[in-house]
Symmetry: none
Subunit: 188 residues, 4 copies
DNA sequence: TGTTAAGCGAGACGGTACGTCGCGTCTTAAT
DNA sequence: ATTAAGACGCGACGTACCGTCTCGCTTAACA
């Protein structure tokens, strides 16, 4: 019966949050900053999100979704496609920092576990499908899929952590070649 | 003529910082908290460190150093040893969270870049040595060592991020087997 | 054709207001508190009363009315009766505080002036009648009735302000004796 | 050893409070308003005063002090002098409202009991002295001094509550004549 | 060995952000 | 068209921490 939460307020808050994070990084993000940037009242923000972090989660969520699940018939091609998508995803300004920041925050604060769910587990689904299909095809031996996901994704995460330099396409190809060989696919 | 900066004050501040981070995570870290925990005056802290984060860097630095560089004659054995050391390092209570948190904080705050240097780059040195030696021995092809480090370490980082469950020894062995095979070592 | 303002809503709001003021003082009174206590919607309250204070005025009004006007034939007896009534009125739990609080609120907020009208002026009517009759009877000289009301009622107000102790009957008698003598009635 | 609370901050806050109350009444008083008006930080205000009300108490205190204790040799003259002082005290703009407001607030909030102490009890001291001396001189019978204070002061309090009109000198004289006669002083 | 400048603890200072509460207005659906 | 329900923008609340500052007291290096 009562008025529903305003979709417009939500939209403005999300947009303001994304603007702030893109401009000043997650360090510049604060509820008061969103209030100033969006014109939405602080109370309204707290009606929509139980904390600033939840708003951040939602704003980030909108940036990281719709990962297509490729099916090119070969593990290598599929992994390459997903990896390229991931690399593109973190290539925007401040996105690498944001992702790492959010992973750290999520590890410490149970309230932010949803971030991990969204950014990590959900993102890994395409990879899970790809590997499962490769096993079914007999392209690779029947291995622990979860462990395999770590092997395939890990190098990109490590690369992201260890350097803020943009990741070149050749680098992606080289890493993919190594990891698919590790999983048991024969070289050409 | 004047008194030098007190080594004791520095020691107490570092110890208090480590206690706080271990107990409440980096979120619980603050200059005021260190003041309360250590009994060292705020003025003194700012005399020793230009900002709270610099103190954090120094305190963390002391926790992660002195990684032995193994030399067992085979890439697989060396990688396994370093990996086991890494897994042990993050197995203590709250250590996984702290590491992820610090990585996130370091990515965002340039002032904390030194943490990344200490925790990530410096930690990778043993791995760099191991791989370089394997190449020199002709055990694996001449590959980009930095990229190889990512391939070898990445799966453990991914595993650490994706689950808070303790990492079993068998898991470590399986991952190491995959990645060394990926780098070009022949199977048995 | 449209529905008239609901008498029931009004009743529930008034009752809730009286409960709140009796329990938590006027400080605990708020529109939102009345909404919670009464179940009446905020919109409805504003339809009935232009502001929260107007509701407060109405709720208080119902508590302080119908003061009987005694006529015992002597000023002293009449004043004593009215004074006893007043003392009883403020003897309930929290009533002293509520009266003082409302007087203060009324002095500051013009919107609440009506409270003063109800609680003070209207309450003084019996005293005005009594004194006027005493003058007509020739029991006391022709004095300014308004000023005389202050002289007769003031000591009880002062007593109420200066101490939260219950007012004993003997105290009332002593005060009444003094003030009626002051107005010109001869001692026995 | 630490820096003492700044006398200047205190002075600015008190002055701002008095300005605000004089200009917009006690309703316009708020911590945030004092922050804006005084330039003193909110945290500093809370360091000096545990609540906004305490600041108000102090600001008011400075307005109501130094009540001289007259000694003219006759009860009537002394009471008249004290009464005139009281009337002057509440004659400034907004002072009547402030006094009533504070009395009400003090009745409800134990934290503000100090206001009652300052404004009421302490203010009554001169009257206590006057009446005690009159009894010692034999000018009036040995009566309960506290009750007598209520009789002498009450009419002025009642007058203050019942009307916001300025109190004329003739009115004071008339009231004083009545109450001192009530206490047992013979007419001329 | 006495002087003295700087280090020290303690904590006040002006700020920013927090998350909550009450205000009075508004929008919605249901009666 | 009134109602219950409650979202809206607004502004105050009292707290935590920031980095700077002002205090006396203490102490180590120099004269």
């Amino acid at each position: 019966m009562p008025r529903p939460l305003s979709a417009e307020a939500r939209k403005k808050a999300i947009a303001a949050t994304q603007t702030i994070v893109a401009t000043h990084g997650t360090a510049g993000f604060s509820i008061d900053a969103v209030v100033r940037e969006s014109g939405v009242a602080k109370t309204t923000l707290y009606r929509h999100w139980s904390s600033g972090n939840q708003l951040l989660v939602d704003a980030i969520d909108e940036l990281f979704h719709d990962f297509p699940i490729p099916d090119n018939g070969s593990l290598r091609a599929d992994v390459l496609e997903v990896s390229m998508t991931f690399v593109e995803m973190i290539s925007g300004p401040g996105l690498r920092e944001m992702v790492l920041d959010l992973i750290g925050a999520a590890a410490c604060d149970p309230e932010l576990a949803a971030i991990e769910e969204t950014m990590i587990q959900q993102r890994a689904e395409p990879m899970r499908d790809i590997i499962t299909r490769a096993i079914e095809r007999g392209e690779i031996p029947a291995i622990d899929v979860d462990a395999a996901i770590n092997v395939v994704e890990g190098p990109f995460i490590a690369r992201m952590i260890r350097s803020s330099k943009p990741i070149e396409q050749a680098e992606v190809v080289a890493i993919v070649d190594w990891v698919v060989r590790g999983l048991g696919v024969k070289d050409d």
